[in-house]
Subunit: 121 residues, 2 copies
């Protein structure tokens, strides 16, 4: 496979819907995904994996059971495996996610925010 | 473990040596590493893993056997498993690497650029 240079902002310009991650690259059995987010997501957890959030543009809060972390552009946070969390963005925010291929965005919570998996941009 | 918010530029301010990656976060059995690079690295490959390069600041060329890719800030590239490559930066460049824990920066090439592994900042 002939992999390409990936420009985060260029890829972000190709979609506008919220809470609908797009895969931009594969790294072994992991995937890098971009998402535009706004408002409050659902509380959920990923029983089998850590999940990395990196803020490309804007600001993101990640509510955890015992505290809330606040991320600005250029900052990242790894939500530990099994930790209940709820991402919240008061204004639109662009994030990069890294996690194993096949992870569902809403974990085991399901619901209307559950996005199709393995959708590339 | 109580993980923290990680600011890439703040972490980059904590070291100044070149070609000496610092681990900033773990994601399952993967590690995120920051490095300052300048000049030409050694040709090498990683037989067992892909390797992701993301440019935080500056510009990086990655020479491959059949072509060269050029990355600017905000761009990333995944060097496929087993592909011979040589990163080159004409001016100092700051990069984020993602790869499984234990990957040696010079692969099987060894030599003076081989950096200590698992060094956190």
């Amino acid at each position: 496979m002939h992999s390409d240079v990936i420009n985060l902002r260029e890829k972000l310009g190709l979609f506008s819907d919220h809470w609908a991650p797009r895969v931009i690259a594969a790294l072994n059995d992991y995937q890098l995904k971009l998402a535009r987010v706004k408002g409050a997501f659902v509380w959920h957890q990923h029983a089998d994996t850590d999940e990395m959030f990196y803020v490309v543009d804007g600001a993101l809060r990640i509510e955890l059971e015992d505290r809330t972390v606040c991320l600005n552009a250029g900052e990242l946070f790894v939500v530990p495996k099994g930790a209940m969390h709820r991402p919240v963005a008061d204004e639109e925010c662009c994030i990069l996610l890294i996690e194993p291929r096949g992870v569902v965005n809403t974990g085991e919570a399901g619901g209307e925010y559950t996005a199709p998996n393995d959708r590339w941009v």
